[in-house]
Amino acid sequence: MYVAVKGGERAIENSHLLVSEARRGDPSIAEISVAQIEQQLRLAVDRVMTEGSVYDRELAALAIKQAAGDTVEAIFLLRAYRATLPRFGYTEAIDTLKMQLRRRISATFKDLPGGQVLGPTYDYTQRLLDFSLAVASAECGEPQTNPPPPTSPEQEFADVMALLGAEGLIEAQPPSEGDPVPADLTRVPMTFPASRAERLQNLARGDEGYLLAMAYSTQRGYANNHPFAGEIRFGSVEVEIIPEELGFPIVIGELEITECQMVNQFAGSKTVPPQFTRGYGLAFGHSERKAMAMALVDRALRAEELGEAVVAPAQMQEFVLSHSDNLESSGFVQHLKLPHYVDFQSELALLRQMRASQSAQSESSI
């Protein structure tokens, strides 16, 4: 337990000044602008928006600048700012099947209507440091044409899940009866067992590194679900709300979003023939690693529902969901830096006492 202490105001003020100086770095080097971060560090912005749980590119970029590039700190800043804003309501559910795609790949079907579209990806880069980036360059190359160009910008991209669903080979995913309103973790704390909707909300804002490790553990045999990346989509979707005074839905903007539909090993029962099962991941911006990890963990957390033995950490709801938030985990780990003087003094006294009584005992036994 830590205790409140007084004093140190001047030291703290000076420390704040040093933080600003350290953030700024060498003043002879041009200062980075929020717009530059927003444009040129887009994937960092996407991560901060996803885990900060607020879609606002400018705010996320500002947070990254303020945190000197520490994404977890930036996520903290964004969450703190979020707490100052009023909540106007909930959007209509976005329709990811109507996403304007910039990237769509499937690892399960080579040929599918609409095709595989790589979009901007590091997947096929050789991960060799590109020293040409070390000098400011004016132009990137023109892409080579890929005939024929599309006649219409709106291409038909088949929904991979629907392709499998048509044959009944994968579990269907219709809304439950009455299309229930999902519980909102920002309003009502989670209780266990948590619904899949609550779990996904938790995972959506969960730490990418943590989810990645959890997902990896399932692949290494701790709850192997034999996954295939059925479909990964990155693009933009329109968002609608129904303002009270209007009573009809209107588009309020567009979000860039990444979606992962994972196809997993079969389940079946006496009444249902064997079929593929599914895991789902969704993240703001272009956050592919996050969306894939989320989908794997989502599937692992469905163990009980699908009649699998809960034996591995990634299948344990309470374990996974209680440790996913980096605001909480970073806060609790780092609170150890706060004064624990009283606590420690009492332990010190206890330890001295134990040692004293032990040595007294050993002396008396001689």
Partner: protein, 150 residues
């Protein structure tokens, strides 16, 4: 007043366009226009919780929030304008609400259609087409290669 489906559809469309209007375009349109109005609800920035569906088609769940600015006003002519726009710009919301109010005025409608909505539609279509073309350039045909030992 907007009970007719057609009128509602039209307003739905323009509110959607206005929500995505860049500030420069709105400012260019609003420049030099002295509009008289009273606030019914001053611009306020806040959050909307974005919902999606599990597996794209299943139950709804909460993904995370987005910033949003809203306002409502009444023009001297009596029309009410509202705005719900992504982001935190009070000025964007204000101009969008003025445009919404004026679009309901039959005498103003054509001019706004020409000066604001058409350019907005064109802009959105152009950016969508550019994105689609960009993506098309990365469309691949994967061929599975049979391995020598098989």
């Amino acid at each position: 007043m907007y009970d007719s489906t057609e009128a509602q559809q039209a307003r739905r469309e323009w509110l959607g366009l206005l929500s995505r209007a860049p500030i420069e375009l709105l400012e260019a349109w609003g420049a030099g226009r002295a509009q008289e109005y009273v606030w019914l609800k001053r611009p306020e920035s806040g959050l909307a919780m974005v919902r999606a569906r599990i597996g794209a088609t299943g139950d709804r769940f909460n993904v995370g929030e987005m910033t949003l600015t809203r306002c409502a006003l009444r023009m001297a002519g009596g029309q009410h304008g509202v705005a719900y726009v992504q982001g935190r710009s009070a000025r964007r919301a204000e101009l969008a609400a003025i445009a919404d109010a004026l679009l309901q005025d039959p005498n103003e409608r054509d001019a706004l259609e020409r000066d604001l909505l058409q350019p907005l539609r064109a802009r959105i279509a152009a950016s969508r087409a550019a994105r689609a073309n960009e993506s098309h350039l990365t469309k691949v045909e994967f061929l599975t290669v049979s391995r020598g030992d098989e």
